[in-house]
Amino acid sequence: MQKIGVFVCWCGSNIAATVDVEAVSQALAQEPGVVFSTNYQYMCSQTGQDLIRDKIKEYGLTGVVVCSCSPRMHENTFRKTCEKAGLNPYMVEIANIREQCSWIHKDKAEATEKAIILGRAAIAKVQLNAPLQAGTSPVKKRALVIGGGIAGIQTALDIADAGFQVDIVEKKPTIGGKMTQIDKTFPTLDCAACILTPKMVDCAQNENIHIYAYSEVEAVKGFVGNFKVTIRKKARFVDTTKCTGCGLCTEKCPQKKVPNEFNLGLDNRRAIYIPFAQAVPKVATIDPDYCNMLKNGKCGVCAKVCGANAIDYKQQDELIEEEYGAIVAATGFNPIDLSKFNEFGYSQSPDVVSSLEFERLMNAAGPTGGTLLRPSDGKHPHTIVFVQCVGSRCDGGEKGKPYCSKICCMYTAKHAMLCREKYPDTDVYVFYIDVRTPGKNFDEFYRRAVEEYGVHYIKGMVGKVVPENGKLKVQASDLLDNRQLHIDADMVVLAAAIEPDKSARPLATMLTASMDTNDFFTEAHPKLRPVESPTAGIFLSGACQGPKDIPETVAQAGAAASKVIGLLSKDHLLCNPCTAQPDEMMCNGCSSCEKVCPYGAITYIDKEFRGPNRTTLLRRVAQVNPAVCQGCGACTVACMSGAMDLKGFSNRQIMAEVDAICK
């Protein structure tokens, strides 16, 4: 029989205002096995912990039940408290009477009754608890960063700086991400390429960093400290060790009509290409969808002109297996597809552009060489209308996103300001719902656009854009003047909402990392653990976690790196001792558990058993590798014969809890 102590926490008024804590501690004192029961204002405080420790010694407690907040908050605290008093930490059970009781109930009598029931269930469970010992597993001292944008680059640089090996996997032919496409950065207006390219070069030169460009993560196995990752290095059809990046092939390739994705299709590139001058690695890539040689074997010009003999039309995808201790997701974002917004005429007129397209039209390395020209006729636009919140702040539905994309207010102010600075003869209108500029020097920047640069900010929204006789007829509302406006514009720029990259969802499945309904990665705690995924060993960097501007992304990238460094600097990790354990006598060898195990912790062996009349039977039974098992419990549910059990959460313990609740 256990000697159990019950400790009911008030959590100030969080619990005590809705639950009669005195009644709970008195009622639970009557439960079988309970030798001591009390309540206290803050059980997690030093005094509260001392109280638990003293009572363990005084009463010789063998089990402790704390009725308090969620085990996610303080289970660890109380386990350590008990460990210091000489009790096995796994003899502690938490009854969550805050999140699952006091916070969600209003009626005190009802809440008190429920708190007693939850406490009773925890007591019933602790009766069957057994001391558990945590094992250890080694840590592979190498990190993987998925995504080579500014988030991934900064995370990799910071990890490498601490002396750890780090690999970057980037699906595009070059690292750099969205920031390479941006012209100037707010609120300082410094050139994006000038501050990004040194970091890209640092990555390439750093001995601790290896870049897998034009590669994708194919499979992830394992767990924190011991991930096994398969990386698919896509065929470039160019030998990267030989290519010098001279670019001669990209000039001679006869296939000239390939939409240039770097310029968002505003101009064309060749079938063999280097995305931009500062690409890292600076090697050519053949686009298999357009290359005549690869499609029908007729051409071969690039191989003929290549002085380094780097072209290899027979190159195949390569699969690389690598082990990592930590993985950082830095998959970034994309602007949403605007073709659904018919009212703005995005599909009807080339002069209606997205903000990222506008960025390319203003960029010296862009399709117009940095001169702002209309895509339709190459003429200088005189009236430009910017529309904010296109697809942001919509209440669900197919068309838009429910969240604020956060960066649009600032980049639109930047675009408007740059237009007025470069071309003072242009009239610039910005239609806004709210101008959101919380950030260092952000509001000052927006006010400068209005006050110094004379950008017309209009509170209202554009209702429709109709292309007519080479103009764009814009009909909009001006809510402050309470009138409808009709503007003949030359260009309309849509500040498209941003969404997580499409590769994030399948990646999250591979990593068993959770996501929200918008496909942003979920953090372990929204305030206190913002750069960690709830899945151990998976960290989050940049816009894959939520909309972010560059300074925020860099800050988060550094934070994620420091978490990775903290993990990699350990030689061993304590394992969770709550692992699965099969009862070999009951196991029928069906393999159900092996199939559902997400960690590959279960294997089957043929084992000899003693049969009747001194015979031996060879039976196929499950075996769990406790160093790999993460205690998710999927196997215990899948097992049809009830042979699989989870230590610390055994079927008996759970049934005892259910019985106690239903009593």
């Binding site: 539905g397 719902i433 209202g460 554009v462 209702g463 429709k464 909009a476 509302s477 409808q484």
Partner: protein, 124 residues
Amino acid sequence: MLMDTIAAISGVNPRKCMRCGKCSGSCPAYDEMEYHPHQFVSMVESGRIEELMASKGIYTCLSCFACIERCPRSVEPARLIEAVRLAVIRQQGKNHLTPEQIPQLLDEDLPQQAITSAFRKYKR
């Protein structure tokens, strides 16, 4: 009370409006209206429904539903207007004209048939 009626008829929750003005930016009858689509919504929300009911503007809404189509918050301003029009009609006894009132309201462009039917309708 009246607000509840409008909410029940229209099924619209005006609190969902984020004041972007896309409805008024879309409306083809904007200039003909005393109150504009975004104002319909805020007037219903703040309970100024009698003023709306008294306005001729509610009959200039063409029910083209551009505002419904484009509203990013699915507020559906045109449904509110339809509900206000229905509320006017449902005020039994208050929406009747006497035959004596008709001559002052006559428009010379009005078809004879309409005038005749108006007299038939209201003489009872």
